[in-house]
């Protein structure tokens, strides 16, 4: 049976076949080209370095389906369903190419039938079809009956499930039925081509855009932030903030809702909902893209991109959505297609800041940073007020140190932070480490400025710090603050500051493994809260735990959401300095999880986490039952005189 060899009136079947094909291709390309042109609304950025690892990552995530399989858990096995449908569809694609296009379209049925692989392919395809249908039924059951939280009602999802199901039904139609009714073959063909045309009009476009997104992904899954290029100041040059990859991200969203289900700001009732933000921006870009491009190309386009992005920030989405993000990174950790939520939010924040829309607590924080070099509104001279020891080691230009202890602003100015710094110094001194602190020469690392969108301030502070650090000779910088750690390690490099940085948990674990601590047996039940900037951003989960477990008589219990899925304390992204305007605070929500495991001590490794979770502890009136301590304070309280 070769339907394409028949004649429909005077027209041979081949012609109709390829005419439909060309029509479908044209409709597809019409939309695809439009979407590609809209990428020009973002500025340029290079994502073609490390070509080999990019290709490898794309293949690994797509072909091996790591994208969805990695998020499979006891609560959510849908990744398996997706993987099966994906591989099955791969088989079907081969099937279609061979039997419908080469066999039918080109009329080479005999050639195809005589291939050795054909009977095997037919067999595999049949099994694939059965599995796909089973997965689709399961998918529909999940979506419409059990209704998991992260899947919102979407008619697109229903259409796609139905469409693929129909394609399977048509595949299983017996030969006799198809021979007797030629129309069925053509309907099947039209369904296939129709699906292809439907792709760029639906979220199913992700089957083409997601592998590309994985190719263009940043080096780190969580924690890659792009600098703006405004400092390359040619007067009048229109630079803008969002880059093309952010626009491309919008085309990749599969509406799976994993980001929204794990976002602490969404749970706390703020206007921020990561998936909704993506979809709102996507709708805005697709609806207005053509008009916006015209204005971009016109001669009056001075500063157009900046104002466009400001418009994106203020029109399609609300400003409050942008200011509610703690940059905890859970959305990016969960996203199967690696959409860069954090970077996009920071870039949109830049629009608002540069447009002069920062006031209130945000304005105060930035004002304090730019004027005084710290966000606490304290004078630079008071940075060493916490130092009680008259013999404190301050960095000297000719003296080499093993460790430069970076105290950070919270460690210097806030009483709870100062407790951490004092404990750390005590440990360092007792251990006889050759260390020093910068003292008043230290300025804020600039992390809150950068995350809040004040890139110029970050670069100014960073450059000042790099100059200050450059005067001294040391092996490594050690800090107790994961924010300082992360930014000096990863983001000072492109400004000329390449340093080896370790976090104090790494240092303490190193020190402990050499047998330098003598612990008593405190007999305590403790739990450990993973800071976002240590855990998700830098993969440091093990050191703190090994340190705690090295203490005899200490029972370490884990909270429900820990390690990669640890819940934020609410202090990141500059939110520590902003007024909280929404529902239940993020730190109170995390503290509820702490209370579930009833520890005697909650151990943290970040000054923001310590302060916010301690605040939650007092709010819940359990400060006499649960003590909130930094790990160095805990270690010090559990150790006898060290060697």
């Amino acid at each position: 049976m070769i339907p394409t060899r028949d004649y429909f009136g005077p027209i041979p079947g081949f012609v109709i076949f390829w005419a439909i094909f060309i029509l479908a291709l044209a409709l597809f390309l019409l939309r695809a080209i439009k979407l590609t042109r809209y990428l020009d609304l973002g500025r340029n950025i290079d994502r073609t370095d490390r070509l080999f690892s990019r290709i490898l990552a794309a293949i690994n995530q797509t072909i091996l389906q790591r994208c969805t399989l990695r998020s499979c858990s006891k609560r959510d096995l849908s990744g398996i369903g997706h993987a099966v449908v994906f591989w099955g569809f791969g088989v079907f694609l081969l099937n279609y190419v061979l039997f419908i296009f080469i066999g039918g379209g080109l009329g080479l049925v005999d050639l195809v039938d005589d291939l050795i692989i054909t009977p095997w392919l037919r067999l595999i395809t049949d099994w694939a079809g059965i599995l796909i249908m089973a997965m689709l039924v399961w998918g529909a059951f999940r979506r419409y009956v059990t209704k998991p939280e992260r899947l919102a009602d979407g008619k697109e999802a229903g259409i796609i499930l139905l469409w693929i199901f129909l394609l399977m039904v048509f595949h299983f139609m017996p030969e006799e039925l198809q021979s007797s009714c030629q129309a069925l073959w053509w309907i099947h063909y039209c369904l296939i081509m129709g699906f292809f045309v439907y792709l760029p009009y639906s979220k199913h476009l992700h089957i083409l855009t997601a592998p590309l997104n994985l190719f263009f992904a940043p080096a780190r899954r969580v924690g890659s932030f792009t600098a703006d290029n405004i400092a390359s100041d040619l007067p009048g040059q229109d630079i803008g903030f969002l880059h093309w990859k952010h626009i491309f991200d919008l085309y990749c969203c599969t509406e799976c809702g994993r980001c929204q289900a794990s976002c602490p700001a969404t749970k706390a009732g703020t206007p921020l909902k990561p998936k909704d933000m993506v979809l709102k921006l996507k709708k805005y870009v697709i609806r207005n893209g053509g008009e916006l491009l015209l204005t971009l190309k016109s001669p009056q386009a001075k500063n157009f991109r900046s104002s466009l992005h400001a418009k994106l920030a203020g029109t399609s989405i609300e400003e409050e959505e942008l200011w509610a993000c703690t940059t905890c990174g859970r959305c990016q950790e969960e996203c199967p297609v690696l959409i860069e939520h954090g970077d996009r939010i920071v870039n949109l924040r830049r629009c608002l800041i540069e447009n002069g829309q920062a006031s209130g607590s945000l304005g105060n924080c930035l004002e304090s940073l730019s004027l005084l070099g710290n966000p606490w509104k304290r004078s630079p001279g008071e940075r060493i007020n916490w130092v009680l020891d008259r013999n404190m080691n301050y960095a000297q230009e000719n003296k080499r140190m093993d460790i430069l202890y970076w105290v950070g602003c919270t460690g210097a100015y806030d009483p709870k932070g100062q407790e951490i710094a004092k404990a750390m110094v005590e440990v360092l001194k007792t251990a006889g480490i050759n260390f020093a602190i910068l003292g008043v020469g230290e300025k804020c690392c600039g992390e809150p400025a950068r995350r809040l969108g004040e890139e110029g301030l970050f670069q100014k502070l960073a450059r000042d710090n790099i100059t200050a650090l450059g005067k001294y000779k040391f092996d490594r910088i050690m800090t107790h603050c994961p924010h300082c750690y992360n930014i000096i390690k990863h983001e000072y490099g492109e400004l000329g500051g390449k340093f080896e940085v370790i976090h104090h948990t790494e240092f303490l674990a190193e020190h402990s493994s050499k047998g330098n601590f003598i612990f008593k047996e405190p007999g305590k039940r403790v739990t450990y809260h993973d800071p976002c900037y240590l855990g998700r951003y830098n993969g440091l989960y093990h050191d703190a735990r090994s340190l705690i477990q090295a203490i005899p008589g200490v029972e370490l219990v884990e909270m429900t959401d820990n390690k990669k899925s640890a819940v934020c304390c609410g202090g990141g992204g500059g939110l520590f300095w902003l007024e909280w305007l929404a529902g239940e605070r993020i730190n109170y929500q995390r503290f509820a999880q702490v209370q579930e495991v009833s520890p005697q001590t909650l151990i943290t490794a970040c000054p923001f986490c310590k302060i916010l979770l301690d605040d939650a502890c007092r709010f819940r009136k359990v400060e006499n039952q649960i003590k909130v301590e930094d790990i160095v304070e805990f270690i010090r309280s559990c150790s006898l005189k060290q060697r």
Partner: protein
């Protein structure tokens, strides 16, 4: 609408100060000098920018001060001002408000402004004289201590709400052009990003004048005020009521630490039937001006 804003660069007063032995001036502790724009001036700038964005026109930022004072002009330009004017002064170091106002008026008179905004006073010298003397030398009406402003450009009038004492307010109207001295509470200043300030400094839209040459044009004035010395607040002892000796030691300590519970004046406990007490309650409420 052409609006002129007078701004001043001052030492940031939010950090500890000490008296410099040599000059007798109050300076920040430490070697680093941290300058900022006077807070009421920042509010004045904000009012000007918002007015300009609404009605259209131009905003001119004028300052008198040493060469470092151009930083505040960059901040103004970064916030959206159209032009900056710097009267460079190393002569009387802005210690004499009369001379400051004269120099400002000399420059502002040529701008053709409809509205001149100043901060009501500066947080370092706290003279609050410049807006008044400026208005006099420009022969314009002045309104001081303004916390709310409404400009009617078509009728060229301005309606201002002034702060009187104890929460009382006064609304006045004046024809434009006028000089308005605004208080810090009139507007929430917006943060100006480093990028905008840097871009402003590169755009080079600042005209400079010299205070000395301006004063010479006016016949050569010399300062009438000379600052002799500043002093810092001395520590104020707080009176602590001695607790009742009949109570226990722990209660006495508690009393001292919490400052005791002082009996309120005019506190009345009304007892009796509801009819009678109702009248008393109404009387008390009327007396306290609640109703």
């Amino acid at each position: 609408m052409r609006i002129c804003v007078c701004v001043k660069q001052v030492l940031f007063t939010g950090i500890p100060f000490e008296i410099d032995e040599e000059s007798g001036k109050g300076l920040q502790k430490g070697s680093e000098r941290i300058y900022t724009m006077n807070r009421p001036d920042r509010s004045a700038l904000e009012v000007a920018i918002q007015l300009r964005n609404k009605i259209g026109g131009a905003v001119f930022a004028v300052t008198l001060g040493p060469s470092e004072a151009n930083e505040v002009l960059y901040a103004c330009l970064g916030r959206g001002a159209d032009e900056g004017i710097h009267i460079v002064d190393d002569y009387f170091n802005a210690t004499d408000p009369y001379l400051t106002a004269l120099c400002l008026s000399r420059v502002i008179r040529n701008l053709g402004c409809d509205l001149i905004l100043c901060g009501a006073g500066s947080c370092d010298s706290n003279n609050s004289q410049v807006p008044s003397i400026l208005a006099e030398s420009l022969d314009l009406p002045q309104i001081s201590r303004v916390i709310k402003l409404k400009c009617h450009y078509t009728s060229m009038t301005v309606r201002a709400t002034r702060r009187l004492s104890k929460g009382n307010r006064e609304i006045v109207e004046a024809p434009l052009p006028a000089v308005i001295g605004v208080e810090a509470a009139i507007a929430e200043p917006h943060y100006v990003s480093i990028h905008s300030r840097t871009a402003a400094s590169r755009r080079g839209m600042i005209k400079t004048h010299s205070s000395v040459s301006l004063l010479e044009e006016m016949g050569g004035q010399s300062p009438l005020l000379h600052e002799i010395r500043q002093s810092l607040p001395r520590p104020c002892p707080r009176a602590i009521i001695a607790p009742d000796a009949k109570t226990s030691a722990s209660q006495r300590l508690q009393f001292i630490m919490t400052g005791g519970i002082a009996a309120k004046e005019d506190s009345t406990l009304l007892e009796g039937e509801s009819e009678k007490t109702l009248d008393e309650i109404v009387k008390v409420l009327k007396r306290e001006q609640v109703i």
